[in-house]
Symmetry: C2
Subunit: 384 residues, 2 copies
């Protein structure tokens, strides 16, 4: 097991009606809040009104900035930073999914420095402070509600960049599964794919003796798949929605990855696809992960056999491990299909014309298997 440090200060407020506490929670964070969100969904659903009421009841002053889009944009982040500085905002409330939360985190960082926030992404220099961020989660997927990371897209050059700091973990996250009842099936499925990928990036390691976290990863993967299937046939089943909402947080708050050497090559390869084509991150992952598995498994048989048997329920009786693993990958693809997700680039109209460019941008990646741009082109080909 690797040496590690772990601390996660996010207060989780989970369950029915939990959003009613938001005013009181924001009040404990600061005096004037930036209410940050995406499109019209939270207005249509009534959540926006609930939150405004809660803020007003707690006498919290606020300004608003909507308009966050999937793969959140640097331009809006810059606008948010200007707004925070001009209005003396001292905390941020993100209402939405991972894109809104990531955008809020970037604003919270930029509001506390006197140079352009993109510099932080380019140099990866550590921050010493940021504005506190609170969350009302509406899309279980990215895990950003208690993670230490964010990803922002710079429009010029279609550049995606990630940043990590323990300081950007939200101060609180309100998780009410009822708020996810109306999520469209495709968006639900993309969230499921994203959280599953967050566990797989941690699970696939050649390290021995990280057994308990390995088993916990298996527990969460099985839970995600079981409840994913339930939710697709019954979108207003509170318990399955609750399991998935909590799984999304567990998958990416770092707890089940401690002491492990994580991989993250598949996320890197996917970010280049959704950077250019602007497809949903979860759909990119359901395409990339099986291709990555096919490309790397032969050098890591024991780990993939364990995945096949413990997660994908493949019978381990036979002796042909190749068959066993390929059956597991096939079952994973079947799972993605049952969620309505693609498993091939050609299914969503992407050809090989940008493979080399994407692979070059991606650079060297991976830990279980160290990948060069040449390998990455091969994986993109396997995903065609």
């Amino acid at each position: 097991m690797n040496n590690f440090e772990y601390q996660n200060i996010t207060q989780i407020i989970f369950g029915r009606d939990s959003q009613k506490q938001v005013g009181e929670k924001v009040k404990a964070m600061g005096k004037k809040v930036l209410l940050h969100f995406g499109g019209q969904n939270i207005i249509k659903s009534g959540l926006y009104d609930n939150i405004i009421t809660s803020l007003q009841e707690s006498n919290v002053d606020f300004v608003e900035l909507g308009g966050v889009v999937p793969n959140p944009r640097l331009s809006l982040v810059r606008k948010g930073i200007e707004l925070c500085k001009a209005e003396n905002v001292d905390c941020i409330l993100a209402v939405g999914g991972g894109s809104v939360i990531d955008s809020a985190k970037a604003i919270s960082m930029g509001a506390c420095i006197d140079f352009d926030v993109w510099e932080l992404f380019c140099t990866q220099q550590p921050i010493s402070r940021c504005l506190p961020v609170g969350v009302v989660l509406t899309i279980p997927a990215a895990g950003s509600e208690s993670s230490d990371s964010l990803v922002i897209t710079k429009e010029e050059g279609q550049l995606k960049s990630a940043y990590h700091s323990n300081l950007v973990r939200p101060k609180f996250a309100v998780l009410n599964p009822e708020l996810t009842f109306t999520l469209p099936p495709y968006q639900t499925a993309c969230g499921i794919s994203d959280m599953l990928a967050h566990v797989m990036e941690r699970y696939f390691t050649d390290q021995l003796n990280v057994d308990i976290t390995g088993r916990m990863c298996e527990a969460v993967m099985r839970g995600i798949m079981d409840n994913g299937i339930k939710v697709m046939s019954n979108p207003t089943d509170y318990d399955s929605r609750a399991e998935l909402m909590w799984a999304g947080t567990v998958a990416h708050n770092g707890f089940i990855g401690v002491g492990r050497t994580e991989d993250w090559a598949s996320h890197g390869m996917e970010h280049e696809i959704s950077g250019i084509y602007d497809i949903a991150h979860g759909a990119g992952l359901s395409i990339i992960f099986p291709a990555w598995m096919k490309y790397v498994y032969k050098n890591h048989i024991p780990r993939f056999v364990r995945f096949a048997v413990r997660v994908m329920d493949v019978e381990s009786g036979g002796n042909d491990t190749d068959d066993l693993i390929q059956t597991a990958i096939h079952r994973l693809e079947q799972f993605y299909h049952s969620m309505g997700l693609p498993t091939r680039l050609s299914e969503i109209g992407i050809d090989d014309s940008h493979f080399q460019e994407m692979a070059n941008k991606c650079g060297n990646r991976g830990s279980l298997e160290k990948l060069t741009p040449k390998d990455i082109v091969e994986i993109y080909r396997l995903a065609l």
Copy 2:
């Protein structure tokens, strides 16, 4: 799934040489620290000297209070509180296992009030503050290094009482598995029994749809048993010691119990035994848990079948669930025996002379099965 709130602020510093960071971590907590510990073991092992050196290098002023014993005593807690008040101590460093940490937590509470600390245990009134506590863990067992709870014994009347508050979670916990290499086998085994029990108290519920936390409990139970067996045959195996050390924290930091209705009857029944007979808590639990299972399983067949199949690896092929569950309980007893732990009161010379008194003190307990003192006497009898 139940509504829940969860926040755990403890910073975990895990791995080889992690205790070297202790001076710097204490310095961030306060100006003058109470160094709190048990007997001579940490002096003999050199850990005491390491810690003094680290505190001195960080220019941290300190006073000392050793002498904590298993089932930590109120009298020493009171002495610690007086010392903190007299010496203007503003933080506490606990070096040891659960007893030392619980004692430190009680002192940290008592140092911030102007009445006797036992009143807090009697009234269960909430605290508004306590001194910050840091930990260097030497015995993986109680999980107190990042839990929200403590148990103290009042000598007069042999009264054990627990207290819970999110405020008593330690600010940091240094976990170096190497510090556990020299733990005697029996103490190692008692720790294993304690952490296993912490998971079982959370696992055994009739709630449906708490599947992911249920699977995570199974993951941790299997990990504890697998690595427990390894450690008994090879006490200086870093990786198994590391797995167990982390398991002890995971078992009791609350993360795998969220949204679940927990039980805790077995802990309650055991506290009455170790309150009177002063046996190790872990040894009391290895006696009580199988007896509790035998007494309650018939009303909760599905949960116990799941335990049998997923945790104790009993083949589910046959149709007789009674057999299946009894085999699982028998295997659990075999596991305890293989650790050198008792599974019967008679093995450690305890007869039925105090059963009624202990059951009366225990009162009504349990959640999976609601137990009265009459039931508790029956369970004690099954444990004879």
